[in-house]
């Protein structure tokens, strides 16, 4: 028996599918033609090989877990021009499955910028005015140090990549920011897990953050969110192609498991209203057919989300980063008093939530805002009315962009940028 370990927790053996399942076996679904496990057998040569802009720090990085990464690579993109005083830099922190390509076409997927309405020329985070940086998180798979890297002994890290935290991610970003000659960021902005990094930045390096915009996030990852993450991870473990995390040399990737993980997660990003409006109970095809023959549009949509995701994301990175989110508890880092994380802070905060977000509900943002009140911090707190769920922060929500734009303009006056 082999036990897979990941950080502080232990996972049971992944199930092996040894023979063609019996029809009475509930696992038959996994062999059904509509099953992603069956349809997504993918060899790794399908994954594009892209060179990312990056900087490597030879002295490595000591992590919260006590281990030291022998060297640290941070892949990043920047937009706009840093001014002579290096005072106009904005750091964008990406979410769980995001990356550094915030304001340009993605080199792997060919899709447009992931935060097109937020970052770019004339946008709220105006690249004609600000120097905008976005780095791939530590543990990621778009060029920054992560589980898919090859270690000194020539093997891939895989599941032996040390457990990382949101604070470790922020430490890695700080190295990049300093490398770029910036001593104080005008603003740090991010949604979801990006918002966790924003909070961690403000708590860990308060003097380096003039303004902070945590969006659709929480200071503590809830039990419910950990639970959803765990379902996703177990789906990855259950994929025979996962091979204990050492799939890099097998020529195959755990595409089915990772796709299921993405499908579960994707449901949590949407609201019931958004799903009903977009799909309702509509079928993908008009023809009548046998049980499981026809697909609901929502099924098809989720499978599409799953199958496209595995072409751009590494399963071990997914495990590593979801775990970092689960560990996140900013209050616990400060004697279980969140306000202490922000004691004496001079940072100006703008906390934003969305009314239909049930993954990071407004109540979680209110906890942050009230902790900031207890620290006598300068805080704006707005709930944007939206029926689009957690994903709203990436979508067309005019109030969100008005708020960020106005907040940054106000801060720019106080920072002497205008």
């Amino acid at each position: 028996m082999r036990t897979l370990t990941m950080g502080l927790s232990q996972y049971p053996n992944r199930p092996h599918v040894q023979s063609e399942p019996h029809s009475a076996d509930p696992r038959w679904l996994l062999r059904h033609p509509a099953s992603l496990y069956a349809s997504l057998t993918m060899d790794t040569s399908q994954l594009p090989d892209v060179t990312h802009q990056k900087v490597t720090f030879a002295d490595g990085l000591t992590l919260d877990c006590g281990m030291t990464l022998p060297q640290l690579t941070v892949a990043y993109r920047s937009y706009g021009t840093l001014n002579a005083q290096a005072s106009n830099a904005i750091l964008i922190c990406h979410a769980l499955t995001g990356d550094q390509y915030v304001a340009e076409t993605h080199p792997v997927t060919g899709k447009g910028p992931w935060w097109d309405m937020m970052v770019g020329p004339g946008r709220p985070v105006d690249t004609d005015v600000y120097f905008v940086i976005c780095a791939n998180v530590l543990g990621g798979c778009m060029g920054s140090t992560g589980p898919s890297d090859i270690r000194e002994d020539g093997r891939h890290w895989g599941m032996e990549f040390p457990p990382i935290t949101i604070r470790d991610m922020v430490r890695a970003q700080k190295r990049l920011v300093e490398h770029l000659g910036i001593t104080r960021l005008f603003a740090v902005i991010g949604g979801s897990m990006g918002g966790m990094q924003v909070l961690e930045w403000a708590a860990t390096y308060p003097a380096m953050v003039f303004a902070a915009v945590p969006i659709a996030t929480a200071a503590t990852h809830s039990a419910q969110n950990i639970a959803f993450n765990e379902v996703g991870r177990q789906a990855v473990f259950a994929d025979p192609d996962f091979a204990g995390g050492q799939y890099y040399t097998t020529g195959r990737i755990p595409a089915g498991g990772l796709a299921v993980a993405r499908m579960v997660a994707h449901i949590t990003y949407l609201s019931e209203q958004a799903l009903s409006r977009k799909f309702g109970r509509k079928l993908q095809t008009g023809r009548a057919s046998a049980l499981f023959g026809d697909m609901f549009q929502v099924e098809s949509y989720l499978q599409h989300q799953g199958s496209t995701f595995v072409r751009r994301f590494d399963a071990n990175s997914y495990l590593s980063i979801t775990r970092a989110m689960d560990y996140f508890d900013l209050a616990a880092e400060h004697d279980n008093d969140l306000s202490r994380a922000f004691a004496g802070t001079r940072t100006r905060f703008c906390v934003i939530s969305f009314s239909s977000d049930w993954l990071f509900p407004t109540a979680e943002s209110r906890v942050i805002a009230r902790a900031l009140n207890r620290a006598a911090a300068n805080v704006s707190f707005v709930e944007v009315t939206s029926d689009k769920g957690h994903d709203a922060f990436l979508l067309d929500e005019p109030d969100l962009y008005r708020i960020v734009s106005g907040f940054l303009a106000g801060c720019a006056q106080h920072a002497g940028l205008t």
């Binding site: 009230r370 006598a376 300068n378 707190f381 707005v382 009315t385 106005g406 907040f407 106000g410």
Partner: protein, 213 residues
């Protein structure tokens, strides 16, 4: 009563002159919290003209959105439940304009205000005004005036009080009244400064600056 009444608002906000009187009471460079800041007129004025660190709390989310989008620091929240989250003496002034009569627990709100701030500036519509008294006496029904413009079952003003009531509450709670004035609906000062009984009869609104005694 019109067929389509305005949606019920937490507080009336037609207070430009009133806000100017309040702004004049506040020393430049102060830390100020405006509870029920509406569209942010006062904190805007205080930040730009008086170099104050002025922040707001507002219950109406649409107002919060508009005001934050103008670059002003405003939090969604309300006087009853959000003041307890601020530390002692976090501010030099806390302002509650035309809101006291609409909060659930006016006494507790005042206590919180003078806990988190050195001074509290409070304005409220005066229920002791002669028109109010006369209407109740004459018609035997709840008064409806320009200030008290909504029927009893719709009004958000659940705790009306008179200038005399407010003086008595301050005495009970041990608050020092540093300044006070009666003002008319447009926010102009009334000439009853020296006679609180007359102010209570002829003042449509009252403006108080309190300090912990």
């Amino acid at each position: 009563m019109s067929e389509n009444p305005e949606p019920v608002r937490y507080v009336a906000k037609n207070m430009r002159l009133d806000l100017r009187l309040i702004a004049e009471m506040i020393a430049p460079g102060s830390r100020v919290l405006d509870i029920g800041c509406g569209d942010g007129q006062l904190i805007d004025e205080l930040s730009r003209q008086r170099d104050c660190d002025a922040r707001g709390i507002e219950i109406d989310m649409a107002e919060v959105t508009r005001t934050v989008a103008r670059g002003l620091p405003v939090m969604h929240g309300d006087a009853d439940s959000d003041l307890s989250h601020y530390p002692d003496r976090a501010f030099d002034y806390v302002v509650l304009s035309r809101t006291l009569q609409a909060v659930e627990q006016p006494r507790a709100v005042l206590r919180q205000m003078l806990r988190i701030s050195e001074r509290a500036i409070v304005s409220f519509p005066n229920f002791g005004h002669w028109k109010v008294r006369l209407q109740l006496l004459w018609s035997g029904r709840m008064p409806m005036t320009e200030v008290w413009a909504r029927p009893w079952h719709e009004t958000p003003n659940i705790h009306p009080c008179t200038i005399r009531d407010f003086f008595m509450l301050c005495a009970e709670e041990g608050y020092a009244v540093e300044r006070w004035m009666a003002i008319d609906e447009a926010g102009r000062k009334s000439p009853w400064r020296r006679f609180s009984g007359l102010a209570n009869l002829f003042g449509e609104q009252a403006l108080f600056m309190l300090r912990r005694a």
